[in-house]
């Protein structure tokens, strides 16, 4: 299969975990970002197939980054990563065009299910 993924989260720990999940399943990590601004810049540079975007981040939040990316690429496939109890933010993200969401702590199969659904496999 091999989806090209951009992993965005301000915590190194989370990024590492996600990267491992994707690599183990045969996908490629094309880049990482630790805040909204970096995410937008990396998206434009790398043009990934999929972005996993943390919601709460310093400088620019995941939701703002989502909106800005969707503005210049309406087909962008962005999956939000939220912590427990951030329902209102997830709703906002979905309304702003997020393709799906996963709640931390992640379960490996959940993450991969989302990828499969988003890419219609």
């Amino acid at each position: 299969m091999g989806v090209r993924v951009l992993v965005v989260d301000d915590a190194l720990f989370m990024r590492s975990m996600l990267k491992d999940i994707f690599i183990k399943a045969g996908h490629t990590i094309v880049g990482e970002a630790a805040n909204g601004d970096e995410a937008i810049a990396k998206y434009q540079e790398l043009k990934p197939d999929l972005v996993t975007m943390d919601i709460v981040m310093p400088q620019k939040s995941g939701i703002e980054a989502l909106k800005e990316i969707k503005a210049f690429d309406t087909d962008a496939k962005i999956v939000m990563c939220s912590a427990l109890g951030q329902d209102a933010l997830v709703v906002e993200a979905v309304q702003s065009g997020a393709k799906d969401f996963i709640v931390k702590p992640f379960k490996e199969d959940r993450v991969l299910d989302v990828v499969r659904r988003v890419f219609g496999v």
């Binding site: 329902d87 997830v90 709703v91 979905v94 309304q95 969401f101 996963i102 659904r117």
Partner: protein, 621 residues
């Protein structure tokens, strides 16, 4: 000017106009040059436009206006081309959707894309998907045969951020069709409402299977299920329960009220003067006036059958398009008026039986004839098709397969009895419910609904000839004529509509066959039953020479009920019983006697309708 007071009226009137438009369009398909039909359709669209514009519903007014323009074009050419029929029907569907938006209080949906397709009717008339592929045409708006689908999605209990999940599901469903409404509402979901179940009403060209498939892989879903058509009709709308009353009827009310007032003064002075003769005369007059008033009040609740049959031509047409069959629908007797509550209860069963006839009854081509007429105080509604008929052997096999009866018992069932078995719950001789038939209303629900009203369902079928369903329902719900009989000192009522005749016979007239008492009446042998015994009441032990008999109909045959005494006939307000008492076989209701005591109403038909409680042969002691 405050238009909100006209809101309900707007909804009811527009709904009716849309029903007519639907009927007219389907009729025009058969008669494309019918000038009257084209004119009528023009007027309906024009009316809707006017009302919507006054109310400020611009999208609705705009669409109606364009449909009206379309009709003007056809008035000039004198002919409605077949492609326009699909277009018009799609327009009607959209108007219904807009009406639903208005009724829900949400913003009118965007119909500009559809209108764009209407503006150039001669060059950009939408063609069906296949025709388009054949012609290799460029993008013209597609018009598919759309169905109303209600999707119900249950979320798992562990689902996190359920409102966001519901929004995602809604997004996916939007790709399968047009979302008409949802529960919880969009606003509620956006506010983070803790969704556990999401219901979405869609107008979709896709099958239930396709819709289910689109949700595969979506997290947090426990179950996806579907419910059949739930078209809102003025009859079922709880919020705006209004009735239309003919002005002539209204005048009668005014007159009667006047006469009652006069009558009251008359009674008052007669009582004051102690003049009993005048009081009695006054009471006689009062009885007549109250009877008249009652009769007229009931008329208000009477609605023509047409209100539930109006959508049937369109339904049949859509089903034909989907299945490629050619089915003609003939309806007669639509003017028959019934009580509104009864009509409401008959609406779904009628739709179900028509669907069945199209899907299972008719193979390729055929006719479905719906006839309605009145017999005594019952409405008769017949749905007959000239299709393949129901094969009793297939049913017998299914019965044995399900272990409900053994082979010998199944063989013994008469043709008529076998057919009644299709009304057993969950009984379908198709292994998979056909896509267009949908689920939700089975024959068991139909039969149950009818019997609950005090009616019944007769089924007749011949392989290769056709099938006939006859629904018998009371015309009026609350009041029926009952015959009062006495059994072991208890007064019991029987609906007069169930009584064919009463008869006094001598015990010597009773014949016996295999231990069962019979009576020969008009060349027919009728089995006799002791009503006391059936009601588990003690029987008269004295030797009697005269037997009082009530001949009634039960399960399509005549039976005779032996009672102790025939009392009298009267009108009775039937009250339905609480569910615990409703389980008693044969008890269809109760009424309050003059002395305040309760009298049960027994329906002889229902006494024997339970298959496991089959007619027991009576043996003479």
């Amino acid at each position: 000017m405050d238009m909100s007071q006209y809101h309900d009226l707007f909804l009811t009137e527009t709904e009716e106009h849309l029903r007519h438009m639907s009927q007219l369009t389907v009729a025009l398909e058969q008669n494309p040059s019918d000038r009257d039909g084209i004119d009528a359709l023009f007027r309906e669209a024009h009316s809707i436009k006017g009302m919507a514009a006054s109310m400020g519903f611009d999208a609705t007014a705009g669409l109606a206006h364009h449909l009206e323009d379309l009709m003007v074009g056809f008035r000039n050419t004198g002919n409605v081309p077949p492609e326009a029929i699909d277009l018009l029907l799609a327009g009607v569907d959209l108007l219904e959707g807009l009406l639903a938006d208005i009724s829900n209080g949400t913003a009118e949906r965007d119909v500009s894309a559809f209108i764009a397709g209407l503006v150039e009717p001669t060059t950009v008339l939408p063609v069906s998907a296949e025709k388009q592929q054949a012609k290799g045409a460029t993008s013209a708006p597609l018009v598919e045969a759309l169905q109303d689908v209600q999707v119900v999605i249950d979320l798992t209990s562990e689902a996190l951020a359920p409102s966001a999940r519901a929004l995602l599901i809604l997004e996916v469903l939007r790709m399968s069709g047009q979302v008409e409404s949802c529960k919880p509402t969009l606003a509620e979901m956006q506010q983070g409402f803790p969704v556990r179940q999401l219901s979405v009403w869609l107008k979709s060209g896709g099958s239930e299977e396709e819709i289910s498939k689109s949700l595969i892989g979506m997290a947090d879903i426990k179950q996806v299920s579907f419910q059949s058509d739930r078209r809102k009709s003025a009859l079922r709308d709880e919020d705006s329960r209004t009735v239309r009353v003919r002005t002539a009827l209204f005048d009668q009310f005014i007159n009667l009220t006047g006469e009652l007032i006069t009558n009251r003064y008359m009674l008052q002075s007669a009582a004051k003067a102690g003049d009993w003769k005048d009081v009695n005369e006054g009471l006689d007059l009062l009885t007549r006036l109250v009877g008249d008033l009652h009769h007229h009040v009931l008329q208000v609740r009477m609605t023509p059958l047409e209100s539930i049959t109006a959508n049937l031509p369109r339904l049949v047409r859509d089903h034909c398009q989907k299945s490629g069959k050619k089915v003609r629908l003939e309806i007669s007797g639509e003017g028959l008026e019934l009580d509104r509550t009864i009509l409401e209860a008959l609406s779904d069963p009628l739709v179900h039986m028509v669907r069945n006839a199209v899907d299972h009854g008719i193979e390729q081509e055929g006719t479905i004839a719906i006839k309605a007429w009145r017999e005594k105080d019952m409405a008769m509604i017949e749905i007959a098709d000239d299709g393949q008929g129901i094969d009793p052997e297939i049913i017998r096999n299914k019965i044995v397969e399900r272990g409900l009866l053994n082979e010998a018992q199944a063989k013994e069932l008469s043709g008529r009895k076998v057919l009644q078995w299709i009304c057993q719950p969950g009984f379908s001789t198709r292994d998979s419910v056909s896509e267009t038939s949908g689920r939700g209303v089975g024959m068991d629900v139909v039969k149950f609904a009818l019997e609950g009203l005090g009616g019944m369902l007769e089924i007749d079928s011949e392989v290769g000839v056709g099938t006939r369903f006859l629904m018998k329902a009371p015309l009026i719900v609350a009041i029926i004529n009952i015959l009062i009989v006495e059994c072991a000192g208890e007064e019991v009522g029987l609906p007069v509509s169930r009584v064919l005749r009463t008869l006094d016979i001598e015990t010597n007239d009773i014949q016996f066959s295999g231990g069962e008492p019979l009576l020969l009446v008009d060349d027919e042998h009728i089995p006799l039953y002791s009503f006391n015994r059936l009601l588990h009441l003690p029987e008269q032990n004295d030797k009697i020479s005269i037997v009082h008999l009530i001949i009634c109909e039960s399960q399509g045959r005549k039976i005779g009920l032996m009672v102790d005494r025939l009392s009298r006939q009267r009108e009775a307000f039937i009250k339905s019983l609480p569910s615990s008492l409703n389980q008693l076989p044969g008890v269809s209701g109760a009424t309050i006697k003059g002395d305040g005591r309760v009298m049960f109403i027994i329906d002889p038909h229902a006494l024997f309708s339970d298959e496991t409680n089959a007619l027991e042969p009576e043996t003479e002691k």
